[in-house]
Symmetry: C2
Amino acid sequence: MNRLRVLPLGGLGEIGKNMMVVEYEDRIVVVDTGLRFPTAEMLGIDLVLPDFSYLRERAADVEAIVITHGHEDHLGALPWVLRALGGSDAPTVYGGRLTVAMARSKLDEHRLRDCDLQDLAPGETIGLGPFDLELIHMTHSIPDACAVALRTDLGTVLVTGDYKFDQTPVDGDPADVSRLAELGREGVLLLCGDSTNADRAGFSPSERVVGPRLEEVFARADGRIIVTSFASNIHRVQQVIDAAADLDRKVALVGRSMRKNVGIGRSLGHIEVPDGLLIGPQEVEDWPDHRVVVVSTGSQGEPLSALRRMAHNDHRSIKLHAGDTVVFSATPIPGNERAVSETVDRLYHIGCNVVTTADTPIHASGHGYTEELKLMLNLVKPRYVMPVHGDHKRIHLHAELAAAVGIDPERVFRADNGLPVELDASGARFGEPEESGMIFVDGVDIGDPADVALRDRRMLSADGIFIVVATISEQDGSPVADTEVIFRGVPFVEQADRLRQEIREEVERSLARSAADDLREIDLLQQELHDDLAAFVYDRLRRRPMVLPVVVEV
Amino acid sequence: MNRLRVLPLGGLGEIGKNMMVVEYEDRIVVVDTGLRFPTAEMLGIDLVLPDFSYLRERAADVEAIVITHGHEDHLGALPWVLRALGGSDAPTVYGGRLTVAMARSKLDEHRLRDCDLQDLAPGETIGLGPFDLELIHMTHSIPDACAVALRTDLGTVLVTGDYKFDQTPVDGDPADVSRLAELGREGVLLLCGDSTNADRAGFSPSERVVGPRLEEVFARADGRIIVTSFASNIHRVQQVIDAAADLDRKVALVGRSMRKNVGIGRSLGHIEVPDGLLIGPQEVEDWPDHRVVVVSTGSQGEPLSALRRMAHNDHRSIKLHAGDTVVFSATPIPGNERAVSETVDRLYHIGCNVVTTADTPIHASGHGYTEELKLMLNLVKPRYVMPVHGDHKRIHLHAELAAAVGIDPERVFRADNGLPVELDASGARFGEPEESGMIFVDGVDIGDPADVALRDRRMLSADGIFIVVATISEQDGSPVADTEVIFRGVPFVEQADRLRQEIREEVERSLARSAADDLREIDLLQQELHDDLAAFVYDRLRRRPMVLPVVVEV
């Protein structure tokens, strides 16, 4: 019996690193390859990827990768996934035009230049083994966002990607509700729907309402205006540019990703900039304050971003001063609240005016609210539903919305990363769990979160490290040099020298005990030393630094 | 000329560790000794105290310490301050009854049993050298909160502490606006006013509105109810108890601070519990689900709190299950958002219903909103104003409120930690800054944030540590044992053995170079090794672990 298998490898029970594996007749299409940013506890970790071991094993069966849109949480893991699937021999990556352009730029940075990327116009259909793939145009906070329909002879799987039903998008091109309705009439077997704003009641405001609010804020400002927003939110940047042009202000783009994304957006015609409007960051100081708008990265308080640098008086070209107005045209992503509020507070300290979405609606979410999620369910009329893109709370709430529009709760699958839903002519059910979880990008390498390096760093970060080097004679195990005692990151203020001496004595006692027991094997000696010293140090400091004894025989 | 000096040592440009030094005729009264909790970057740090070096130097001049209320951000640093001021010889600590009871309990935990604590009834006046001290009854999210009036022959300083103007507090005892008005008529020279909610428009809701909302939530729950709130919010706990009693449910208090604070609250008559209502945590499982309310610590997602343990299925007596309703009767303190939302998500994963203040108003802030701050200004009619308890943003907004009620902006001092305001018959102005900042409690000791231990821990936490032990001959500097290469917290997956070997070779090269240069001093040898190895390791790993070479001569 033919069986469809839909396996989420990321984005369920979490916000970020979205990845979905759709499998039919042993062939696989991957929808999205997203990443997450590390939390504060992930010491020294650069990025978090979905554990895609499953794809590694099934590399030969992967027909294609489809990316719904160009945000990092849907696109960011692509270089690692492609490398695991054979690099330049990896399957083709499909997506909308901007999505493919952003993917290409990312792969270039990773020196993956020969991978096959193809953009696909919404409405076009291509065959991928047992699947027919079609992209459906949606609206989101980045252009060219698409839902993905994968048709098989068993039925259609529709993965929404991130979306909102913006009736008045800035580019005049609303989501293709007509095509969604058509798919609904044809019959959709499974809908995998975005749950990000399942906790926000009503309809999300249109991106277009942001422009006039920005203009009002701009009109009230006497001095310079600094607007920060997501660099990929090209329509937002367009609206900032329009407002600046209306008020006869020049625009400086600041921050690498801001310049890069506006460049890509211009080359694809997503963004229009009047001639002579743009100035370079180093020209800002040459213009009178009331003639300048700076558009900057850093809306999330990112440590090295342009705005954070400005707030800390550490930016190469731009020095903020009293009278500048800083406009946060974005809301903090959960987890970034403190970084953002620290940045805001630095700006107040400098004497800037700060305008945030708490003051006036200068941001619109890219994700639909409850009524839009219900509209999607009613348009598509899916037989089965799997809420995706959300922590357990949002998945729970999305499931309640499905119940509210009359979908039998038995047909709503609250899945989890690694937990597949299997569908065939007789129905649908959860399958056996597959390996899933996180992979950490840690410098040049990727590795397991259970990795001992991170565990060690956690221990080191909490209480530091003690290193003891004892040099003993090969003949009789007696000390032949002074014991070295080194500590790093261990707090003690006054008793350092005394403690060092006590530790030396403890080492001598421990070695003498071992010698008396005729213990001569280095590993065992070190183990004994470790246990004796750990107990001794805890007793003295009530802390548990890592204790690292090194015994050298000469 | 007589001069009053008002020196904030904490709570300005930040939220927490409030501390104010009021000085007249060389005598000092300290108002509040608060602490903060460390942020994620303060690796291994337990608590953050205000830098009170100034008080240490002036110990002989301190007349008294006054604590406005029993919250940690006003009381928590008391043990360290008292120890610095002479322990049992330190000056007397004054406060309301509950405040003093909580201070005593805290000092007991720190084995400071002989300190002099005195509770003072609001309205009573006592002389403290050149000051007359009077407490004024206020309302806040803990009973016995007071404003502090310090009268001198130059004028009166009024420190509000944390407050709201709750017209219908749970204990029926609103803030003493009449006394505030009287002080205003007499003339207040300087008002130091709470700025915490200077960014929230209007009047804060009364604590009393929470009770009926809690009852509604309780009435809708079929299974067990778990309410989490601040343990010190005694009136909130009272309202939970009342709602439970009305619905014929037993109440279990869970979490050490919850039991302790309810104990103190009962002994002082702030909380009334019907006979037979309380059950022990271990009895919860003996009662039918619909007969139980659990009141628990953990509203901030604290790692070791009772609720967090329950959410992770790790609590000794209580196992949560589907059908339990968990009520968050508190909002996250800035910085705790992620910990709280993680806890909430674990609860959803278990299948609990979760009710937060986003769903229904089951929390009321303890801090007045803008209209209450203005009311305070209008009641007290201060000649000068210093907004306190707030980051730069809130201090800025509070200053704007003062302007809005007609206070000359010249007379509003936006101070900073360590920046005193000096007042005399001719006016007021900023004085010279004093030492201020943070002290870290790190295990048993307190120390400076610039402390090398923390800096080391940051380095260790980011990239780990390399330790290299080279044993050389005292005679000619030649190696006499194999070089030991040890790494901890350094990520590299496949090349470990090869890298270790390469490092050994690099050590040999470096030592050979030093020998050729006739470099024999151990410290210099180690410095050379360090520089050579650091460059080598960075080149190989693109990481900068701490590099620690140990050269042993035998």
